[in-house]
Amino acid sequence: MHTDSENYKKYVNARAKKSPLAKDCLRAFLVGGAICTGAQGLLALYKGWGMEKDDAAALVSVTLVFLTALLTGIGVFDNIAKFAGAGTLVPITGFANAVSAPAIDTKGEGFVLGVGAKIFSIAGPVILYGITAGTLYGVIYWIINTFF
């Protein structure tokens, strides 16, 4: 298709206008990547203290979970999450926030049926289906190992 260069430029600019999806994905990529890079740094630090690899990795998770609970408590995490979208949701920070946010928000409903129950509102399904999938795998793995 032939157009003069002016029109073509307009056409391209209109098409190249960033969709929210592209912007959201860029933010998610940058923040998610940054969190994982930070985790890698912590892992190196803990290994440097002489911890074994698996223990160091577990402590990295604990550290991220702690920081998330703290940032959620002081109300900062929500702002980061609004900017980052899936960038804070997908790393373990998203899981930790999904535990601490409802816990904090349901304090008014009491510590047993409020905090105690609602703390599992998202963690519950995650653990339930993760563990169930794992159990299923364990049974299959056992059958294969035992009979074949």
Binding site: L21, A28, Q40, S61, V65, F95, P125, G138
Partner: protein
Amino acid sequence: MDYVWAFVIGGLLCLPAQILIDKTKLTPARILVSYVVAGVILGAVGVYEPFVEFAGCGAATPLTGFGYLIARGVKEAVTEKGLLGALTGGLSETAAGITAALVFGLIAAIFFRGKTKN
């Protein structure tokens, strides 16, 4: 190079979730569940282990890494103590993360005021 791959892979793993958030009505809870179950499956078929070796925390920190830990724990436990391991391996391997999330969540609820007023 460890840091570069952690950044790139960790960032890339966030993209499917972002697309799901923008393009579907899938709630964050469903996305987290999908990631964990996907991690278990990828761990079970042996794909995720080399992926973690390669990308380090870029593969371990996303929730798929949590699923992978469940699969790894189950496999080790079944090898060690048979069928009972199918029930014990998953939770014991992920105990630190789950317990930390719950305990720190409770402590946060004690010390901080939420959105709903009492």
